[in-house]
């Protein structure tokens, strides 16, 4: 990471990349971008480039891992070696293992897993280029891929982070804001139910600041939710 900028938020509240505190980076979602996968989606959020694929419901081996009353959800978050400044060695590290676990738990509340007993639903997220906020972007993309695969869902899951930067609560921190900010609050939710399915925070915030960040992230999720549905409509029409 280059030198720390002198200030991340201008006096008038404008951010380094010209955004307002509650503004998302440019977002683009496309459903159904792969041939082999049962469902897929491509997402760009700022410089993040993310592709998600879903395989399933499909047979699960070995048999003793099958659940008689529901599908087993598996999630793999992976960064391409060239996706970050310093080449990332291929293979899972502790960070990506944690993200994979939390992302699975963020999507599972939205899935009717009981409709698919004894099967596996595999979700794969590949980060082709990373610029802060990849775990949320991955969940957002995966949710569209799940819908594209025809998996029955209670709701789409939308995700985005809020952050505290130079004392301000801002939506969707980019690279510098994440690196030099005071706190990061990734959040995923089912917008229809206003229910949080992923929530993390690290940094330093008063309880009120944290609540404010959660509110702002939820607001961001609703914008993302609209884009998710648009992407699906572009492919499937309807509504």
């Amino acid at each position: 990471m280059a030198e720390e900028p002198e200030r991340l938020i201008a006096e008038d509240g404008t951010r380094l990349d010209g955004r307002k505190p509650d503004e998302l980076r440019p977002l683009r979602i496309q459903a159904g971008v792969l041939k082999r996968a049962d469902g897929s989606a491509y997402l760009e959020l700022g410089s993040n480039k993310i592709i998600a694929a879903v395989y399933g419901p499909r047979e699960l081996h070995p048999r003793h891992k099958q659940k008689p009353d529901r599908a087993v959800i598996r999630f793999r978050y992976n960064m391409a070696p060239f996706s970050v400044d310093e080449r990332k060695r291929p293979g899972p590290d502790r960070r990506s293992i944690e993200i994979s676990k939390l992302s699975k738990e963020a999507l599972e509340p939205a899935l009717f897993t009981e409709y698919y007993p004894r099967t596996a639903i595999d979700i794969f997220v590949e980060v082709l280029q990373a610029d802060a906020g990849t775990r949320c972007a991955g969940i957002t993309a995966a949710s569209v891929a799940l819908a594209d695969a025809g998996i029955e869902m209670k709701d789409l899951v939308a995700a985005v982070a809020a952050g505290k930067v130079d004392g301000h609560i801002v939506l969707d921190p980019m690279y510098y804001e994440d690196g030099y900010g005071e706190a990061d609050v990734p959040l995923a939710m089912m917008p229809k139910y206003d229910a949080i399915t992923l929530l993390q925070m690290d940094g330093n915030m008063t309880e009120d600041e944290f609540k404010e960040a959660v509110r702002l992230a939820k607001k961001g999720c609703k914008i993302i939710y609209r884009e998710q549905r648009r992407a699906l409509k572009r492919k499937y029409g309807g509504e």
Partner: protein, 271 residues
């Protein structure tokens, strides 16, 4: 055999759930009540700091070891922190030998963030020669008996071990670091992060879930606060969701409860 166990487990789950619906917990606690906490420091003399924690029947040892290492290139003037949790198969019939799985990794990373984000350790004080040598603080969490809420017990143990750890004095000559026998100073520990884990079971929230409660819970949220009461780490886990009301109740319960738990742990360390 496993059939009977499954049946027993189902009956137990049903019991835990029906009690909660009537406002009671399986072990008689209030929804905002922790199990008895016992923290004993200095239990491992081979470690630079250590603590044995008992939280109800949950039992674990945390050992702190200091090693001379090289600072990270982006923090040449700081020591380093490495938290590791081992869910050894002695502690639970479902734990398996092998490298840390996703549960052990999540546990260690949540504890790590609690310590790191509260800036509890003054890492700059652990630099020996800028860019060349520094102390690496290894915090190893060794779980012995798993009866639920490993998150809070692990942070308690880590904080207790760190708060009582000693750093060896060193001399640097010709770029070689020599440890001086028997001379130490306290580890520069300047905050006291405490986490409180709240379980959501149906539309109830309760702190410090025991294992039987963890099995039936929908979701959990671990909130770590520093001594000032600021939030420094949060982690929602498990496969359920937090609707607005449950989220707010959980957050408030956790922040409030953390003050009491901090006092309890501190008192035990000082005694």
């Amino acid at each position: 055999m496993s059939l009977d166990l499954d049946l027993l487990a189902k009956i137990k789950r049903h019991e835990v759930l029906s009690m909660i619906r009537t406002g009671e917990r399986i072990d008689g606690r209030d929804f905002d009540e922790f199990r008895p906490i016992e923290v004993r420091t200095g239990v491992i003399s081979k470690a630079n700091g250590s603590a044995l924690v008992r939280l109800g029947n949950t039992q674990l040892v945390v050992g702190v070891k200091l090693e001379v290492g090289t600072p990270f290139p982006d923090t040449p003037d700081q020591g380093a922190l490495a938290v590791n949790a081992e869910l050894v198969p002695l502690a639970d019939p479902t734990f398996e030998p092998g490298p840390p799985d996703e549960n052990a990794i999540e546990l260690s990373r949540v504890v790590d963030r609690g310590i790191r984000e509260s800036e509890a350790i003054d890492l700059e004080e652990l630099c020996i020669v800028e860019g060349e040598h520094c102390w690496v603080v290894f915090v190893d969490i060794h779980v012995l008996d798993h009866d639920g809420n490993l998150f809070d017990a692990s942070l308690m143990g880590s904080v207790a071990a760190l708060a009582t750890a000693e750093v060896p004095e060193v001399e640097v000559e010709d770029d070689e670091v020599e440890v001086i026998e028997d001379e130490t100073r306290p580890l520069p520990f300047r905050d006291f992060p405490i986490s409180v884990t709240v379980a959501k079971i149906e539309d109830h929230v309760l702190v410090d879930p025991c294992l039987e409660e963890e099995i039936v819970m929908d979701a959990r949220m671990t909130v770590t606060t520093n001594e000032r009461g600021d939030v420094c780490a949060v982690q929602k886990g498990d496969k359920g969701e937090f609707p607005p009301k449950a989220f707010e109740e959980a957050l408030e319960m956790a922040v409030k409860k953390s003050k009491e738990i901090r006092r309890t742990v501190k008192a035990q360390i000082e005694s």
